[in-house]
């Protein structure tokens, strides 16, 4: 209980550094848009990572279905490709925002 309390207090203390990001304080990095490329990199990485996880779930279940029922392999393959396309486009939406924001 005490350990959790101290952990919480330590996290809140660290979080107070967000006051540096208030607009108008000297040395605020967001004023010149310096964070745009960094956040673009992070957001694209998160989008690609989650897209990879989702596609791996789709492929795993479709391969298992094809193994259980080889006769339905054609239909399963069609559904797999269609599903992969849709998941891929979700991570490409993030790429569009990156290209729109990063000049």
């Amino acid at each position: 209980m005490t350990k959790k309390l101290f952990l919480l207090l330590a996290l809140m203390f660290l979080a107070s550094s967000i006051l540096c990001a208030a607009p108008g304080t000297p040395g605020n990095p967001t004023d010149n848009g310096h964070w745009v490329p960094i956040s673009a990199g992070f957001s694209m990485a998160i989008a690609s990572g989650l897209c990879g996880l989702a596609q791996s779930k789709a492929i795993a279940s479709s391969v298992e279905g094809m193994a259980r029922n080889p006769g339905a392999a054609g239909a399963i393959r069609l559904a797999l490709i269609l599903g992969l396309i849709f998941i891929e486009s979700l991570s490409l939406y993030t790429l569009v925002i990156v290209f729109a924001k990063v000049s």
């Binding site: 490709i81 269609l82 396309i85 849709f86 891929e88 486009s89 490409l92 939406y93 790429l95 569009v96 290209f99």
Partner: protein, 242 residues
Amino acid sequence: MEKELWITKIFNDQLADPANSLLGLAGMHAEKRPWADFVTMQILVAAIIVVLFAILRPRLNVDKPGKLQHCFEVIFDFVHGQADEQIGHDGPKYIAFCGTLFIFILFMNLIGIVPGLESPTMTPSVPAGCAIATFLYYNIVGIAAVGPLKYAGHFVGPVPLMAPLMVPIEIASHLGRPLSLTIRLFANMFAGEKVTMVFMGLVALGVPALFMGLHVFVGILQAYVFMVLTMMYVGAGVAQEH
């Protein structure tokens, strides 16, 4: 000053004045080089498709089908099968628009592979135009098939009591359809080209060719996905309870 394709250069050198008068008709002021890359590439793609079908039509023969006829029979059976699956019984009525959309987007996606030419779907305007055409088409066709009252009944949802909740959700989802169609096609084509270019700057010749192959595959599938989504929206619009 952006670099132009050689086709756009020819259009701008010879046909700048007709383009500027067209712009004047639409209320926009004249520019020095009015033809954009994606406009001339769309015209080229349309011309290629027209020439291809003009070559095909005289060679159609019921008794002795030739190779070109076999190719197009495969494409037509594919589109027809998808229409039957997505739209149901009246599917073939809507093949004209959906099939044309499929072939047009397919050729537009693939023409970017040819060196010296560029996919018009790489600019956001072209997929936006196709998506707006799809939006207008499935709404008009839905209203024509079931009547305006029953079509508006789609927005209310299954239980009329939930209408105040369902109508804003349905309107938002309908408005989101052309947006997602546009961004899906544009982002896939744009990202494919950018990735190939980036890798061409980084690695030797073999690896960018792999990415270009992926780009071709993705281009074909994105044309198919656009068509299938159009058919799904048309199918949802003309659905009638029997």
